[in-house]
Structures are given as C-alpha cells and as structure tokens.
C-alpha cells in the first residue's frame, strides 16, 4: 500500500499549480481553476467507482450507494470513514467529516477558512464521479465552518 502522504503532496501541488500563474485570478479565473479540480476529481471518481465495489448487486437503493461512499470510498482514499450521514429522504444528503485528511495539517479552527474551498474541489468531483458511474447524476458542494471539519452536500438529480 502506498504511503498516504504521496496523495496529499500530489493534491497540494495540483491546487498550487492551478493557482500559480495568477495568485489572484479574480472571480472568473478562480471558478475555472475550481472547475478543473472538480473535473479531475470526477474522472478519478468514475474509475474508482468501477474498481472499488466488491459486490456487483449490492446496491439496491440510493441510500446504499451513499453508505458505500461514506464507508468504502472514504476508507480507500482517506483511510477513515465519514463521521456522519444525514438525509431528508428526498434526494439530499449531507456527509460530514470532522477531521478531513486534507485539512488537518492546515488549521484547527478559523484560520485559513477562506482558502479551504480550493482543497475540497477535487473531493467534490470525486464524490460526483463515483455516483455517476454507479448510475446517479448529482450535484456536490462543500462547506467549511471550522477546520478540519467539513460537510459535503450531495443532491441527487432526478432524471
């Protein structure tokens, strides 16, 4: 099993690289960088979604897929399970990680809160891509109030 820091360092460089040419690209440029990160995460999520699930017919319903994200996917990528999963049973789910691996070295509280979204974009895409492979269109957004905890809101789109 590869050292977990390898992914962390690579992720740090991805974010740095996208922000490097123009440290303050303004709202338009910043949105592009976030989109690039999300689409990278999306493609990784798609392939992980193919490779990870052990049982072929394990998913009977939406909630099972979300549970798979919180347990198997999170353990495979971040070596821990999601701390909580809430839903309104109408297609909206909130996944909460109280000590998100990519945010842990940064701060424990309010410092760097404005910078945090850059480091969550890839992971949002990851969730979206995995869901896509498993047959669900979704919209994923991330929220941070105090590091290193963060929430991912997943809204499943009805066809």
């Amino acid at each position: 099993m590869a050292d977990t820091v390898l992914f962390e360092f690579l992720h740090t460089e991805m974010v740095a690289e996208l922000w490097a040419p123009d440290p303050d690209p303004g709202p338009g440029g910043q949105k592009t960088s976030l989109t690039v990160l999300e689409s990278m995460g999306f493609r990784v999520g798609q392939t992980l979604g193919e490779r990870l699930p052990q049982e072929t017919l394990g998913f009977r319903e939406e909630l099972d897929v979300l549970r798979f994200l919180c347990k198997d996917l999170w353990v495979a990528v971040f070596h821990k399970q999601m701390d909580s999963l809430r839903t309104n049973h109408q297609g909206t789910y909130v996944l909460q990680d109280n000590s998100f691996r990519l945010l842990i070295p940064m701060a424990s509280g309010l410092q760097y809160v404005e910078e945090a979204p850059k480091f969550l974009a890839f992971t949002c895409g990851l969730l979206c891509g995995t869901l896509h492979t498993l047959g669900f269109q979704s919209l994923v957004t991330a929220f941070v109030t105090a590091l290193p905890a963060c929430k991912f809101q997943v809204v499943i789109q009805k066809p």
Binding site: V5, F9, M106, S108, Q111
Partner: protein
C-alpha cells in the same frame, strides 16, 4: 513583535553557523552528531539540525540534560506534520500557522523540564 526578534535571529544564525564549522574542524576524530549544545552560567542552548538544513534551537535552564529526542520530535511530529504538509505554509517563510504555534506551545509546556513558574 517581529521587528524585535529579527536582529536576534540574525545574530543567532551567524553564531550557530560559526560554531558548527568550528566544532567540525576542531574535532580530533570523525564527528557523529556534531554540535549539540553550549552553556553559560545562566542558560543552556540546545541545537539540532536535520539533513535538510532545518535547525531547531531550544534555550533551557542549566539543569537540563541532552534533549535531542525532544528537538527531533518538534521537527518530525510538529514541523513536518503541520508546516511541511500544510499547503498554505510556503517553505522558507515565517510560519503563520496558528495550529503549529499552539501545538508547539502545548508540547513545550508538557515537557518534564518545563516549569510554569518561569512562564
């Protein structure tokens, strides 16, 4: 606060650099760890340097023995984990991370030779 300490840092860097090269030249046999510490009648300065050139310096009372493992812990468990791995702390610049500052503070306070009395 930063202005007060900058001169002190420069003086300290110059001194440590000179002592290190002096120690290696004066050593009769091959050195293992090199410069470890120096003491005056008032305080003892402990030194630890990594292969990458990061220097950890701690000033203590005279009664404190070798603390190489403490300095190593500060480097590996605090500096590497909270500064090197922090994408928002560019290496080579002053550390702005409050997390690093607070963890370092609690670690030092937890050391057996730390006395709260001295502040």
């Amino acid at each position: 606060m930063e202005c007060v300490y900058t001169t002190e840092f420069k003086l300290m860097y110059g001194m440590l650099f000179s002592i290190r090269s002096f120690v290696s030249k004066m050593s009769p046999l091959d050195m293992k760890d090199g410069f470890l510490a120096f003491q005056t009648s008032r305080y003892k300065l402990h030194y630890y340097e990594t292969p990458t050139g990061i220097k950890v310096v701690m000033n203590t009372d005279l009664g404190v023995g070798p603390i190489r493992d403490v300095l190593h812990h500060i480097y590996s468990a605090l500096y590497v984990e909270l500064v090197v791995k922090n994408p928002l702390c560019p290496l080579g610049q002053t550390v702005q991370s409050e997390l690093f500052r607070s963890r370092l503070d609690s670690y030092v306070r937890s050391l057996s030779f730390f006395s709260a009395r001295a502040g």
